[in-house]
Amino acid sequence: MTRPAAAGLGAAILLLILLSLLAPWAPIRDLMARDSTLAAEILIQLRLPRAILALFYGAVLGASGAAIQALFANPLASPDLTGTTSGAALGAVATAYLAGIASPFAMAFGAVAGAGAALALLLLLAGPRAETATFLLAGVAISALAGALTTLALALAPSPFAFYDAFEWLMGSLVDRSLREALFAAVPAGFAILFLLRLRRPLDMLALGEEVAQSLGHDIARLRLQVVCLTALGVGSCVAVCGAIGFVGLVAPIFARRLSHGHPGRAIGPACLVGALLLLASDLLTRSAPLGRPLPIGVLTALLGAPFFLWLVVHMRWRFVR
């Protein structure tokens, strides 16, 4: 990625964070006039966590998407299409509603375990360099299984309100999270991003094939394990706090590879920035939806992302996307 591109993306992200804190401006202005401490509290307790979550969740989806795509040598791999996000949702729901442990730490642990299990299952079912069709079928099967098991877990839950409780969370939402919850997602996500960035070169070498990467001393089995664990940690902890948000992990790396000149590993850094930008922008869009109430962000990314995915599949043909 060139310096001007990085600077441009960075500036756009800063601008969106600022907008995320200040928009809508009218209530803040009115409160400032009456009670400036209350206005500051709203900024810090309500809007700051939302901006932090959008920034880190978007960035970790971008980084994980780029790493998974590089690992599977497939531009259609992403945390949602591999079943990672639905596995994480299943893990969190099972922990909270079946095991009855609703502490954020336990839910995050469940989500990370669920995400890791889904990715490991995909590697087992489809193999590390599967044909696109096999790969997508295995991913769809795992997503469907995790979705069905999530519904089953909610149906079997002792609490009669489990479905209602979990509904908004399952659709993905950044609203009404505390600063503590935001940090709970952001710290593991930041850790996962830092370590995924260190895998850039081996993942670039994987573009030349597993044999060449191995001949250069890269341990492919360990690389796979690292990507699976880091993706599960980053995406899992964000899903535990915000629910599943789809398509950002698919779209961000595709744009990022334009900035990394096609290098799959080097796309991880730009994919972080593009992912953060997409989620911050989507979050701002949900606030201006003309529905009288905010649109869940997971619904918005799916509404925008699904047609983009279809467009990729039907019109662009694989090699153009790459």
Binding site: R201, M205, G209, E211, V212, S215, G262, P264, R319
Partner: protein, 248 residues
């Protein structure tokens, strides 16, 4: 002749029996053998692919003792597959062969030398297989490794490029004093290209000598089931592929 590469007791699962091998500086060694005879397995074992047993020393250094960023200066491997999954340009593809932090000018010089300047800025995944082959060979040469392991480098190349490439490779091996082991199927190309020939059969090296000796002896009819005729090679009479011993 200085031996710069030694492989001791190399073995790879059940496909390659324990093998000892030395390769000399400045000489091209070609590896021939029927399908499944263990050519690729021997290249893999030398390149450290697939957890091989045994020990490889290149100028006294064990490749696995070097970090990945430096290992490309010691050995490089060209696999038989020419697939590229990502939209890299020719120049970027070749640059992947260099240790990190090398100047782009090194790549441009190599591309010019191998007459690849015209496709340097084109997407490698959209080139013909032959053009992609030449880029991948340039990638393998980029870091000037001491040992070059090439699996079928001339596959997909037209006759002119087969000759030009083998000339360039031989000239490079002589000039840089590195060692080269090349798996080939084309016996006539092996004759003109190789200084030394190894015939592989059933997971082991069956014969080791000059191309003139080995191609005229009885190894070829026995191992490949073909014999020399007035106009080239033809199947040995009464020999059917099913009679050939199963590959290990």
């Amino acid at each position: 002749m200085t031996a710069i590469v030694t492989g001791e007791a190399l073995a790879l699962e059940h496909r390659l029996l324990p093998t000892n091998l030395t390769l000399e500086a400045g000489r091209v060694t070609c590896l021939i053998g029927p399908n499944g005879s263990g050519k690729t397995s021997l290249l893999h074992a030398l390149a450290g692919i697939g957890r091989p047993e045994g020990r490889v020393l290149i100028e006294g250094l064990e490749p696995r003792s070097l970090p990945p960023a430096m290992r490309c200066t010691l050995l490089s491997f060209l696999p038989a597959s020419r697939d590229i999954a990502w939209p890299l340009t020719g120049r970027d593809l070749v640059a992947l062969g260099l240790p990190p932090g090398n100047p782009a000018t090194a790549v441009d010089a190599l591309l010019e030398k191998l007459d690849l300047g015209g496709i340097a800025d084109r997407r490698a995944d959209r080139l013909s297989t032959g053009e992609r082959s030449r880029l991948l060979i340039a990638r393998a040469l980029a870091a000037r490794p001491r040992l070059l392991l090439l699996d079928e480098p001339t596959a997909n190349l037209d006759p002119l490029w087969q000759l030009l490439l083998t000339d360039q490779l031989r000239e490079r091996v002589r000039r840089e004093g590195c060692a080269m082991l090349v798996a080939l199927h084309d016996l006539e190309l092996a004759r003109s290209f190789a200084d030394r020939l190894l015939i592989m059969n059933e997971g082991r090296i069956e014969a080791d000598g000059t191309p003139a000796e080995l191609l005229a002896g009885d190894h070829i009819p026995r191992v490949f089931g073909i014999e020399r005729a007035a106009d080239g090679w033809r199947p040995v009479p009464r020999f059917r592929p099913a009679d050939r011993p199963p590959s290990p």
